[in-house]
């Protein structure tokens, strides 16, 4: 699927990321690299990771195909960062199998790292190095000896510009969002075959999220694979071709967005002034309808919005809000449990 995939649920007015792409200078040299690996870039089955008594991962399956942007969706503490650390060979799995580009990430970490760009979930910087120095150092460590300095400089300058990052500050002077930008500029300044991004937008404002989205589209068009973890459903819907939903260390669901559409709902609310049961009965496709605190609330299938919206227009409703369901609500509805702050499972002593 190309850049034409419309974001499923983008009701708010936000800058169109694809327009941002159009403004960017053409990528130099490599237009669309041929995808070296046909098939799976990441393949994890039955992945387990224990921290003492805590089962952080409990039989996780994850497969990411070459050339796709794969969303890795889960609530806080679901095990996203742990999985990503295992994929990078920073942590060792306690059980299960894992392959990245067909190799074992623990044994072949170094050769894999030549092909991988990583943005950690919680970026910290060296207090006495400037952001620019950190970017240069990490980029040099990543690409090794022979490289095209001029090309790197161009990319770096462009990224600093679009992310509006001042590279001359020292590490301590950056806010969380700016530290994240340092890691993002580092990741995108050197081409990679696989981008592993752990909640990369959690500190970014909406404008910067759009710039980030543009970079994702750019590297995807160049043929790279992206694994993007997030706890925000709408972000994943906007950017990703396929999604894996992780819940308490196991895979809850995986598939393309259209396969997962049954999961997504849209929440609609409007003022209850002048509404009565007979008028509300005219709304097409309404589920979970309730009247509370002067508002009418209902949900609809995200795939079947048009009739509902038409009937709302006919009712001349006031103060209408339409929003995608949050991940928490999705879990609540589909799996019938609250996963927010769910305690990690404790190992049962056998």
């Amino acid at each position: 699927m190309g850049a034409a995939t419309p974001p499923l649920m983008e009701y708010s007015v936000s800058p169109d990321p694809r327009r941002a792409v159009a403004k960017l200078p053409l990528s130099h040299g490599r237009k669309r690299r041929s995808v070296g690996i046909v098939g799976l870039v990441v393949e994890a089955t039955g992945l387990r990771k224990r921290f003492g008594q805590v089962h952080a991962l409990d039989g996780l399956d994850l497969s990411v195909s070459a050339g796709e942007v794969h969303g890795f969706l889960g609530t806080n503490g679901a095990g996203k960062s742990t999985t990503i650390r295992i994929l990078l060979g920073l942590a060792r799995a306690s059980g299960g199998t894992v392959r990245v580009f067909g190799a074992d990430p623990w044994d072949d970490a170094v050769s894999l790292h030549r092909r991988i760009a990583y943005v950690p979930g919680d970026v910290s910087l060296w207090p006495n190095l400037s952001g620019g120095e950190a970017i240069d150092l990490l980029s040099r460590l990543r690409r090794g000896a022979p490289h095209d300095v001029a090309e790197y400089r161009r990319r770096r300058a462009r990224l600093l510009d679009v992310f509006q990052l001042d590279p001359a500050r020292k590490g301590r002077a950056y806010s969380k969002g700016n530290r994240q930008k340092v890691a993002l500029v580092t990741a995108f300044a050197t081409p990679a075959d696989l981008y592993v991004l752990d909640e990369p937008t959690s500190g970014l404002d909406p404008l910067m999220e759009a710039v980030f989205a543009a970079e994702i589209y750019r590297v995807r068009d160049e043929g790279a694979t992206v694994l993007l973890s997030s706890h925000i459903l709408s972000e994943v819907e906007q950017l990703c071709d396929r999604v894996t939903i992780i819940r308490a260390g196991t895979t809850a669901e995986t598939g393309t967005l259209s396969e997962l559409r049954h999961l997504t709902r849209t929440e609609i609310a409007f003022s209850s002034d002048g509404m009565d049961a007979s008028r509300l009965a005219q709304i097409a496709g309404a589920h979970d309808l309730e009247v509370r605190d002067g508002r009418v609330r209902l949900t609809t299938d995200s795939t079947d919005l048009a009739p509902t919206l038409e009937s709302l227009a006919a009712l001349r409703v006031q103060a209408l809000t339409v929003a995608p369901a949050s991940l928490e609500e999705l879990f609540l509805r589909n799996y019938g449990e609250r996963t927010v702050a769910a305690p990690p499972q404790l190992a049962t002593r056998s």
Partner: protein, 538 residues
């Protein structure tokens, strides 16, 4: 509810072990010094001999105190007070920075400042906590002396003097923390001020005027510039006066009030010295893991090297003086040799003693390099480096290499200054050879610390910081003070610093050094093996 109580509780709880070690350790040093002097310098003549030598060649006073007569109690005070005060001072600056700048740096201070706690509550709590810690340290010192059989009154005066010195540096540490952006920087500046106080007192005492009997000395005005000098001037067991502690109280009050005032007028997390604008691009050389480790460590390496150079200067200039003195009085030579536990000539013994302190400084610098590894790991910075094509083993070895380089630099700094000192003072140039052997002899001991701590980091990462400093402190105390505190031979043998090659005449015993190099290499090898197998642990 008062917010001071929970803040104090949090500090006490966080520091419960750290402060216990500092306070008990200082108290034990006082106790051992008292009992050891009793057994080793039991007779008046031996003590008078040492004092006369020191008075005649006052550079020795740099590392002891101000002679106040040959009485046993006063002699103990002369031997050990400077070090008790030094420990109190370092405990206090570390405590002050730990609860002020370090908290701001991590952002935890913001959490506290956003509660009902007043703007200065955290600083007030730190001051109260630090004063309480110093009172406890004073009690431990007084108790150590009293248990060691010294007069109660003088013991209490010593305890008060040590506590007062600590409290001054508590306030100074808090004051420094207002200016410096990072906790590492604030600790460095505070430690340098402690070092300055140590050196000012030493030089001031050395430039003092002796009495006719050669057993007492009045310091020059320089000593009165140093909080450690003020403590020294209580002259426990001889003068027993608390008047010299008045300037301590005044300075502590001024620095503490200054810190509170400055702290209340600036943003949380900001510093009064602003960071300079820095390079937007990295130098070409900053392109390897080793270059990063060097970049992170060189400022502290320079600091340790400057300290070591000062001891090198003593080693290079003292020896000539000693030689003349001992030629006149052979019994002094015997006692002095006992002091540094060596069989060579007295000047060789002194050079060895100076360089064993240099060895401790070099080992401390290397230990810091491994501790940096652990800090990189816990802060998440290691993750970013290790997600590039840098192996865990390579990453470990980069820091170990910087540690080894640091050892060489610190020892070389002392050796170069010692050699220059010998040449400048027109001494017997044979002392250059002695200094060279003494300097080389430190290498294996310092390398042993580096190798063993690297192994601890690889096998038991969470213990790295605590074990690193603890092992170094125990090794240094046994190696340097082993003689003074009368530790039995087998205990002293545990410390690598006891095995440094001994100078005796023209022959040098290198066996111990060879073994230590073997141990260091084996430990480093085991560290590599463990590092291959372990993942990152935060």
């Amino acid at each position: 509810m008062n917010t001071l109580a929970p803040l104090l509780w949090q500090r006490a709880r966080r520091d419960r072990w750290t402060l216990t070690y500092w306070i008990l350790g200082t108290g034990l040093l006082a106790l051992f010094a008292a009992t050891a002097v009793r057994s080793e310098y039991g007779d008046d003549a031996a003590r008078a001999g040492i004092l006369r030598l020191a008075v005649a060649h006052p550079s020795i006073l740099l590392l002891r105190g101000l002679p106040q007569g040959a009485g046993l109690d006063a002699f103990v005070f002369f031997q050990i007070f400077t070090y008790l005060a030094l420990l109190a001072a370092l405990m206090s600056t570390l405590l002050a920075v730990r609860h002020s700048r370090a908290e701001e740096e991590t952002g935890r201070a913001e959490l506290i400042a956003s509660t009902r706690a007043a703007r200065d509550s955290a600083a007030v709590a730190t001051l109260v906590h630090g004063v309480a810690a110093n009172v406890a340290l004073g009690v431990a010192v007084a108790g150590g002396f009293a248990l060691g059989g010294l007069a109660l009154r003088g013991s209490i005066v010593t305890g008060l003097a040590a506590a007062a010195t600590g409290i001054v540096f508590l306030a100074i540490g808090l004051f420094v923390a207002q200016f410096v952006r990072t906790s590492r920087g604030a600790n460095g500046v505070s430690a340098a001020l402690v070092g300055l106080a140590f050196v000012l007192r030493g030089v001031g005492d050395a430039l003092g005027t002796p009495t006719v009997d050669g057993l007492h000395m009045t310091s020059s005005w320089l000593s009165w510039l140093s909080p450690i000098g003020w403590g020294q001037h209580v002259a426990a067991f001889s003068g027993d006066t608390l008047l010299p502690l008045v300037p301590s109280l005044l300075l502590a009050t001024a620095a503490g009030a200054g810190a509170l005032l400055l702290g209340a007028r600036r943003d949380v997390g900001s510093s009064l010295l602003k960071a300079r604008a820095s390079r937007p691009q990295a130098r070409r050389s900053l392109s390897t893991g080793f270059a990063l480790a060097w970049r992170l460590q060189w400022p502290s390496i320079v600091g340790w090297a400057v300290g070591a150079a000062a001891f090198g200067l003593f080693a290079g200039t003292l020896s000539g003086l000693i030689e003349q003195a001992t030629a006149a009085n052979p019994t002094v030579a015997d006692t002095l040799r006992g002091l540094v536990s060596s069989d060579g000539s007295v000047d060789q013994a002194l050079i060895s003693a100076m360089f064993s302190i240099v060895g401790v400084l070099a080992a401390a610098c290397a230990v810091q390099s491994v501790i940096r590894l652990r800090q990189e790991e816990t802060s998440g910075l290691a993750e970013m480096v290790l997600a590039t094509p840098v192996t865990r083993v390579r990453w470990l070895l980069d820091y170990v290499a910087v540690g080894a380089l640091a050892i060489v630099i610190v020892i070389s700094a002392a050796w170069i200054v010692a050699t220059a000192g010998v040449l400048a003072s027109g001494d017997d140039t044979a002392h250059i050879g002695d200094a060279t052997v003494a300097a080389a002899a430190q290498l294996p001991a310092a390398l042993t610390y580096l190798g063993v701590l690297a192994l601890v980091f690889a096998a038991l990462p969470t213990a790295t910081v605590a074990l690193g400093w603890a092992v170094l402190a125990v090794g240094a105390v046994l190696g340097i003070f082993g003689g003074i505190i009368g530790a039995p031979r087998w205990v002293r043998d545990v410390s690598p610093f006891s095995h440094i090659a001994a100078l005796s005449g023209n022959s040098v015993a290198w066996n111990g050094g060879l073994w230590m190099v073997v141990i260091a290499a084996a430990a480093a090898g085991a560290a590599v093996a463990f590092m291959r197998r372990r993942d990152l642990r935060v």
